[in-house]
Amino acid sequence: MTAPAETNIELKGLRFRFGAVQALDGVDLTIGGGACGLLGPNGAGKSTLLRVLLGFLVPDKGEGRVLGHDIRRDPFAIRRLVGYMPENDCLLPGLDAVSFTAYFGELSGMPRREAIKRAHDVLFYVGLGEARYRLLETYSAGMRQRIKLAQALVHDPRLLFLDEPTSNLDPRGRDEILALIKDISSKKDIHVLISSHILSDIEATCSHVVILNKGKVAAQGELEALKQVDFSLFELKIKGEAEPFLDALRASRCRVEETEDGLFKLYVPPEVGRSGVFRAAARTGVQVRHFVQSRTSLEDLFARTVGVD
């Protein structure tokens, strides 16, 4: 794992429980600059983690710092420096985009005039310039995501928390939001933490990734490095009795997935290697008819780490 050039978020042994559910279970994390993806299946603890980082929820145990500020003792300093775009709808009815954005700028501590001027700027930036005086309830799903992004940007934060930024969007709307996020994180000197379960979104925007599963960090680091380290991915077709062969591979710590078209995907640890696959085939009497090393994607990493397709 490459050490991050600048540490934005640092967590040690963070635990949080919702009644009987251990939502965060000893989360240790270091997140640097740029765009970082927070991945995990539903219920993994992604949104809970964001809420703990913002000080909405107080952790039961552990400690954490965001932009150098303690999450327990200094949540207000964090909120001044962080912009938050929530997953669900949060737009106040009866307002136009300028009033809405300026209002939250003012609540962030901006003088009123500055907040209004700044609201116009960010609304143009997110592509709502023409629609900035329309009532929010008339906005489409894509526009709603943009206005949520605008209110998160209005006070010029150093770090953005985006919770499922592309949810409910059509492909075009998704591409546009992703283009904005990329622009913000790569050219505007604003670091971004994106929580999502849409792997392609993370792959398109982030250089670093943290995978959460059942409240624990299952993997973290630079995306490219994580995709390559520790295992090779092969696709193969076989002829013969599959089960003994697959059992033999599983016994040697390979992870096996069968695709719909009868193809097997093998995640092979370095100590086994490709020769180990052929040895297992020879031992169990199957013929390998197709054997290709595949490029690992984030989906492969996610499937291997979390154990879901």
Partner: protein, 289 residues
């Protein structure tokens, strides 16, 4: 729709750390209320009693000019503490305050709960206290507009038209009574409306509930009183309790023959319950277990 029609510019200013963010909520809420036509109309109607009373102050001090119309009567109205007591404890004032609260207050928290915008508020450097004070400020503004402002105007008009400070020298506690009872009404009505607003995500439901609580308690008092004929039963009526305290604050004899302080304690208790509930109900994040 084109993305990034103009480039992102960093803001060069600094966010303030010591300001009181509740003021922004109040200012915004008041501005937003004035965007509603029906609310503006109701507010204008609510000010009519104050205008009538102001005319009363004028007439009281310039009666000699109108004696020809009054058939020799020397005084139609006296501007004294009883005059203020009449205004501040009138059923019409309470009713107009209630109507304003229903129009301007019932959506204050209900709308935030419904839209899920509480998380946006608390993603800012904002305490629960700031949020509630901001909302309380909105309703208090309108209540004080119908209580403190007219009360102060009556005193000023009396001084101007009479050309003397006799009212204040004879009743030096009167301005204090006006301030005290105005804030008393502001806090109570505001907490009541915020309480019902936080009970539901539907502002209409909150409005109906406030109406039912206010008039329901009065009807219950009327029914029990007709059966048992006991003045203590007035303590169950919000209106009767408000009147008891109002009469006491302006130096009059309370309409019910029971200690007014008990009414004050009962209202303070309900205010405490509302504050407790609001602190519990307002959360930055909704936890679904």
């Amino acid at each position: 729709m084109p993305i990034a029609e103009q480039g992102y510019l960093h803001w060069q200013g600094r966010t303030a750390e010591t300001r009181r963010p509740w003021r922004a909520i109040t200012r915004f809420g008041v501005r937003l209320s004035f965007r509603r036509k029906f609310f503006k109309l109701t507010l204008a109607l609510s000010l009519l009693p104050a205008i009538v009373f102001s005319v009363g102050v004028y007439l009281a001090e310039t009666i000699q000019h109108f004696q020809v119309f009054m058939g020799g009567s020397r005084q139609i109205v006296a501007v004294n503490p009883a005059f203020f007591q009449t205004y501040f404890t009138s059923e019409l004032l309470y009713f107009m305050l209630l109507m304003l609260m229903i129009l301007a207050g019932t959506g204050l928290i209900a709308d935030d709960l419904k839209s899920g915008s509480l998380q946006l508020y608390f993603a800012r450097p904002l305490r629960k206290r700031d949020y509630l004070l901001g909302k309380l400020g909105i309703t208090s503004f309108f209540i004080l507009l119908l209580t403190l402002v007219p009360g102060t105007v009556f005193i000023l008009l009396k001084i101007i038209f009479s050309g003397s400070f006799r009212l204040l020298t004879e009743h030096p506690w009167l301005p204090l009574s006006v301030i005290l009872y105005s804030f008393f009404l502001a806090v109570l009505f505001s907490l009541a409306v915020l309480f019902v607003s936080a009970l539901s995500k539907n502002r209409r439901f909150a409005g109906i509930l406030l109406f039912l609580i206010y008039f329901g308690s009065d009807i219950a008092f009327g029914v029990f009183d007709s059966i048992f004929h006991r003045p203590e039963l007035g303590w169950i009526s919000i209106r009767a309790n408000l009147k008891q305290v109002g009469y006491a604050v302006f130096g009059g004899r309370p309409p019910l023959d029971v200690p007014w302080i008990v009414s004050a304690v009962i209202l303070a208790f309900w205010a405490g319950v509302a504050v407790f509930f609001l602190y519990r109900r307002i959360q930055s994040t909704e936890v679904i277990r």
